[in-house]
Amino acid sequence: MNKILLNQKVIIYLSIETLLLLLATIAFFIAFKIVKNWDINSFTPNQFTLERENYLFITLVQMLLFFSIFDTIYFIYVIDKLHLFIPGAMCAAGVINANSFGVPLLLLKLFFIFLLLLWQNINILDLREKTFPYTKIKASFFIIIFLALIAIIYFDINYFFHLKTNLPVSCCSTLYGQLEGQNPLPFNLDTKLLLILFYLLFIVVFGALIGEVAFLILLATPLFLYIAYYSVTYFFGTYIYELPTHKCPFCMFQKEYYYIGYLIWGSLFLGTFFALIWAIDALLFKIWQKKLKLIAQISLFLFVIICSSYVAFYYFKNGVFL
């Protein structure tokens, strides 16, 4: 028996995933029925049953969304704690890179939340209308979400079953530290250009939100997310750790840094996800949701402010940059 599988936190995590799968499976069956038989104009008892099941379906998916968010936070926490059992790992970075399933799993989980948020958004639009025009779309979309969940479970099992406690892994300093002579940043950027891009894209996204330029948000936000990841890992992170060589996206989840990682990454993902959803609404459904826009703006603004203020405070305190 693998030692990792007897870890309390892993057991709890896997149990949560199982329960989520159970919820999703029930929802999946209803979704399947809706895709097949839904007809709002029909007056057959079948349709009435389907309509009632629709409310169960909605509640199930909303629950799935609610618990998935906490589940993902918990997942990060678990792998962060597992570094004690894996030789060489200093934080979650080592654990998640311990085998090839870790990183795709984390990305999938984030993407899954994005999909569920998008679903919830369609759901709100759907329920607002008296004819439930998007119910079929919603149900079909959920089938895709369900497949994503299956993939997550597949990666979950593979990840934890293949987590070896006897093989040393690299700690974050070798995984995210600059390899000798190698530039870890994408597109061959240097730090200065990276920062210019970071703020430039932020202005574009933020401005596009104010000016309601949906197509631009759809284009710029993914790029901003990508650049922001590298900016935080390779630049802002060093100011959080106050160490120019400490380049790691995960260590900031630890207590030593006041769990600031949850806030930083949380606001980034919330902001970009909501901005994207807003843009999709605007382009696809011609609906401009003020609330979504506002949340996106506040989150993104918060994200940039927190990151920048770490640099600013360091400069005020020490009079120099790292």
């Binding site: 709002i40 104009n41 007056f43 009435f48 309509e51 009632r52 409310y55 329920l127 008296k130 004819t131 439930f132």
Partner: protein, 217 residues
């Protein structure tokens, strides 16, 4: 305004309860539907109250085709526009009068502050304010009915439906009910009463007669 067109309700394929009914009720009108028990009055009323769906035909209330609405919107519509006083009042017996009204208010809002004044107003209109904190179980038949009426009024519904309102009352209470009904009529509420009690013959109202699922004027 209520507009019913070719309304048919079947329970089983061969058992027809309502057979091709059409009629109109204008806003502020008082309508009495007469008929012996089992003639389909209650079914008609529950379709009007949007609790039941017709097998075929159209039900338009305030220009809204309610037979087409999904439950989410239908319920909202019911809460906003329809006050229904059933034969056995359908109160939750172990709760107080106030709590019973709070449930009705809860269908539309979540703010108690907002609800409180509306509840007091409705209790006053139904003349039951003095029993506000009494447990429904301990009330008399007439008081229970007034509680049910207050509950129907609490969301400012413009359509009130009564199913056999005097069946459980003695003659004195029935008389009081008639006075209340006339008061409500004066408030420009659309009222439909299903009954077989001859006491309503004294009222000046539009009267329909129901027989074997058909409606006659």
């Amino acid at each position: 305004m209520i507009d019913i067109q070719n309304l048919t309700k079947k329970v089983q394929p061969n058992q027809t309860i309502l057979d091709n009914i059409s009629f109109r009720v204008k806003k502020g009108e008082l309508v009495i539907v007469k008929g012996v028990s089992g003639s389909g009055k209650t079914t008609l009323l529950s379709i009007l109250a949007t609790l039941d769906k017709p097998t075929s035909g159209k039900v338009l209330i305030n220009n809204q085709a309610v037979h087409k609405l999904p439950d989410l919107h239908l319920s909202l519509f019911r809460a906003q526009h329809i006050g229904f006083v059933a034969q056995h009042f359908n109160l939750i017996e172990h709760l107080s009068v106030y709590d019973n009204l709070l449930i009705a208010k809860g269908a539309l809002t979540n703010s108690i502050k907002e609800a409180k004044s509306d509840i007091t107003k409705a209790l006053k209109q139904a003349n039951i304010l003095h029993k506000k904190d009494a447990i429904v179980k301990n009330l008399s038949g007439g008081e229970k009915q007034r509680t049910a009426i207050a509950r129907a009024l609490v969301n400012c519904a413009d359509i009130l439906l009564f199913d056999e309102p005097t069946a459980a009352l003695d003659s004195k209470n029935s008389q009081t009910f008639l006075e209340l009904l006339q008061n409500l009529h004066k408030m420009q509420k659309t009222i439909i009463v299903a009954t077989h009690d001859p006491i309503f013959d004294t009222l000046k109202a539009k009267t329909f007669i129901m027989q074997d699922g058909k409606l006659y004027e």
